[in-house]
């Protein structure tokens, strides 16, 4: 034992004079660190109720619940997370996964209340003492639990694509499809938005599992035009996909295509195994487009004898004659249609109802009729000079090309319109070697065409002129040319909050000479073939207004597709067809439907 060992412990006194370390709570409050994982805050307005927080919570501390005064709508389930602080461990995985980034934690340390039920609350909706805290745990900008960027699909370069009518988008490779499918959080918000309510999360899961056959079965539950829709669907689902809130939405459409493309047509029958027994009842369908053929498919599966009357030489309707083959190759469309026909659906091509066969014959010889003729009459500009021979409709050009004829548009083309038909007419004209200008009366973002179409048209060299209103068409000096007069437009806001409206500025007019003016401002329907039946069928703005199950005032007539819905796209037509098939089955079976 040394003297040092005896003395040195007394060094302890030195620290006796230091300031104490302890804090006098609650007199001295110590705020949590700026990143402290305290109590939950949810920005209810930004939250879309995808439920990823609920899915990732390992303690089952989160329930997605209905919130008073918040209605579900497209892109928002109307549910919000309710937290149970008897279970929560404040790991904040819910914050990390939040697709809307609306969920966060405050840096609040302690919460004392005498009401035990208060520990079960809806964050952001219920008033909590920490709701206004500006600090607390947030997901770091460089830390992600989700992949926010879409896996790009290989495509032909604009130079290559302009050379012909080969399909521009090459489709996902298996590896790309798997990576893209992996991004899905399976919230199902897309299912509500999809007009056909396809089971999107399920078939994306099938992609992840490389279960192409199971995927195809899922697709056919709601959509017998999967090969087609996998290419040209308007994919409203993607608009509402929660992955789009912080990045790009899942390429739901391309994943659908990935499934359909991986199953060869020869194997469809074996995989889908659509067996049925004839029930002896007969249904007539007018129009072999997506609406008519979908109805045919689902009716046939119930055992109905189905006859489809089609005015054109091939099926597909607008999909064949309105969508060029660089977006939808004909053999892919045929893959869908041929399978439906293989079930014994009788399609009578080149048979125009009202001309080649009277409508009354359909009425007399069938138990029910589904009409899905589509909108095939181009709308008129109703401006001076519209009857000029160098003014043609967009549909005419697409129809010519689909039938292998030269549309003869010349070297300088102006396309009027902003929809898909306008974009396709422009792109087709580019392919036959013309300089193309697209005149659209509103802004680019108002264009009803798919964003991809707009993007690809630009890439292929179409010159897009927004806010341009055509006012007059005149003869040019050269009889093979035509002059268009158009004026610039200013956008004015709509008093009721709708989209802004263009107003012509008469002091800013332009005159240009073209070889062809393509008018593609929309289509109307032609229903004269239905004769006096029309009187009993409700219509508005040139479209039918069907009742439940697409049924009309004439109880055996059902309508659907572009002529009966406001969206006028393939997927809505498919749903109308499916819906009508269910309606017709109810109407003709015991289940009733008057």
């Amino acid at each position: 034992m040394s003297l040092k060992d005896l003395i040195s412990p007394f060094y302890v006194w030195q620290r006796a004079f230091q300031k104490p370390y302890t804090q006098k709570r609650p007199i001295e409050e110590r705020p949590g660190a700026p990143r402290y994982r305290g109590f939950h805050i949810n920005l209810t307005e930004e939250c879309v109720g995808c439920g990823s927080c609920e899915a990732i919570c390992q303690n089952h501390a989160i329930d997605m619940v209905k919130v008073e005064g918040l209605e579900p709508r497209n892109g928002d389930s109307g549910l919000r997370p309710k937290f149970d602080y008897g279970r929560c461990c404040w790991c904040a995985l819910c914050v990390d996964i939040c697709t809307a980034r609306s969920l966060r934690l405050s840096n609040h340390y302690a919460w004392v209340t005498e009401d035990p039920d208060a520990f079960h609350f809806i964050a952001g909706t219920d008033a909590m003492p920490w709701n206004q805290n500006s600090l607390g745990y947030r997901r770091d900008d460089d830390y992600h639990l989700l992949t926010h960027d879409r896996i790009e699909m290989d495509a032909l370069s604009p130079e290559e694509s302009l050379k012909g009518f080969d399909e521009v988008m090459k489709g996902y490779t298996e590896e790309q499809a798997l990576l893209e499918a992996d991004r899905c959080v399976e919230c199902g918000i897309c299912v509500a938005t999809c007009p056909a309510h396809m089971s999107v999360p399920d078939y994306i899961k099938a992609v992840r599992n490389k279960d192409w056959e199971g995927g195809l079965k899922l697709l056919y539950e709601t959509n017998p035009f999967s090969t087609t829709c996998g290419r040209i669907c308007t994919h409203r689902c993607e608009t509402d996909c929660v992955l789009g809130l912080q990045g790009t939405p899942i390429a739901i459409r391309w994943l659908k295509r990935a499934i359909a493309d991986r199953v060869p047509a020869e194997r469809y029958a074996e995989i889908l195994n659509d067996t049925f027994t004839e029930n002896g009842k007969k249904v007539a369908i007018v129009g072999a487009g997506p609406g008519g053929m979908s109805a045919a498919y689902y009716l046939r599966k119930q055992g109905y004898g189905v006859t489809v009357f089609e005015a054109q030489a091939h099926g597909g309707g607008m999909l064949r004659y309105g969508v060029p083959s660089y977006r939808l190759p004909e053999n892919q469309l045929d893959k869908d249609i041929d399978y439906i026909r293989s079930l014994g659906v009788d399609v009578r091509f080149n048979t125009r109802v009202g001309q080649d066969v009277p409508f009354s014959e359909l009425m007399d010889n069938h138990d029910a009729i589904f009409i899905a003729t589509g909108l095939s009459s181009p709308m008129k500009l109703r401006i001076d000079g519209e009857e000029h021979p160098r003014v043609v409709s967009g549909l005419k050009i697409l129809d010519d090309v689909a039938k292998g004829q030269d549309p003869g548009v010349g070297k300088r083309v102006a396309v009027i319109g902003g929809g898909n038909v306008a974009m396709d007419a422009a792109r087709v004209s580019r392919r036959v070697g013309a300089d193309v200008t697209v005149l659209y009366r509103r802004r680019i973002e108002d264009m009803p065409a798919d964003p991809e179409e707009i993007h690809e048209s630009k890439a292929e060299g179409c010159h897009l002129v927004p806010q341009a209103i055509p006012v007059k068409i005149k003869d040019a000096d050269d009889p093979n040319q035509v002059v268009i007069v158009w004026g610039e437009a200013e956008m004015v806001s709509d008093a009721k909050g709708g989209r802004p409206r263009p107003v012509l500025q008469e002091d800013r007019m332009h005159e240009e000479t073209y070889d062809t003016i393509v008018s593609a401002i929309g289509q109307g329907g032609d229903y004269d073939f239905m004769g006096e039946c029309l009187g009993s069928i409700e219509q508005k703005w040139g479209k039918f207004i069907p009742g439940a199950y697409q049924q009309t005032g004439v109880s055996k007539i059902f309508v659907g597709g572009d002529i009966a819905n406001s969206t006028a796209d393939a997927i809505s037509a498919v749903e109308d067809g499916h819906h009508a098939a269910r309606g017709i089955h109810r109407f003709l079976s015991e289940e009733g439907l008057q």
């Binding site: 709308m379 008129k380 109703r382 401006i383 001076d384 519209e386 009027i416 319109g417 902003g418 929809g419 659209y440 009366r441 009803p448 006012v471 007059k472 004015v492 008093a495 709708g498 409206r501 107003v503 012509l504 008469e506 401002i521 929309g522 109307g524 029309l534 009187g535 069928i537 409700e538 219509q539 508005k540 703005w541 040139g542 006028a568």
Partner: protein, 148 residues
């Protein structure tokens, strides 16, 4: 037309004529849904008539200063003859152009009169018609030009 009463009676009569015009046209057309649409137009005109009647009882007209939006949708459209083969696009054009004509009539009347009270009244009526025109122009923009 020298008194406020007379002018208002004239305007009310015009609205009645317009309503009758649509009712007659509705009888002629061969499309039942168009018939319904035209009857709707007719009801709209009757509503205008009701509005003017209450003006006669003392309610205020729109003030001339109040700017009514002119979308100029109809300005460059071709004139359409109201025949039995009308479609809905034509029907709307007919309606827009009729309202426009009425607006011009009252504006001209206002320009050719010196009495400030009368002038004010005609301009107010013109404003009313401009509002009606806007109603149809918005319909046209929303329905006919929906995809454009």
């Amino acid at each position: 037309m020298n008194t406020v009463e007379e002018i208002l009676d004239f305007a009310i009569e015009r609205e009645q004529q317009a309503a009758d015009f649509y009712t007659d046209l509705a009888q002629k057309v061969n499309k039942p849904w168009l018939k319904e649409m035209l009857e709707g137009f007719s009801r709209e005109e009757m509503r205008h008539k009701g509005k003017l009647k209450s003006v006669k009882k003392g309610e205020k007209l729109l003030s001339a200063e109040q700017k009514i939006q002119n979308l100029k949708v109809s300005d460059y459209l071709v004139a359409v003859e109201p025949t039995e083969n009308l479609d809905f696009q034509d029907a709307l054009i007919v309606a827009m152009q009729r309202e426009k004509a009425a607006y011009r009539l009252y504006t001209d009347l206002a320009n050719n009169i010196d009495d400030p009270e009368m002038k004010e009244l005609f301009l107010g009526l013109a404003q009313e018609e401009a509002k009606h025109k806007l109603y149809f122009e918005v319909q046209y923009d929303d329905q006919i030009l929906k995809h454009n």
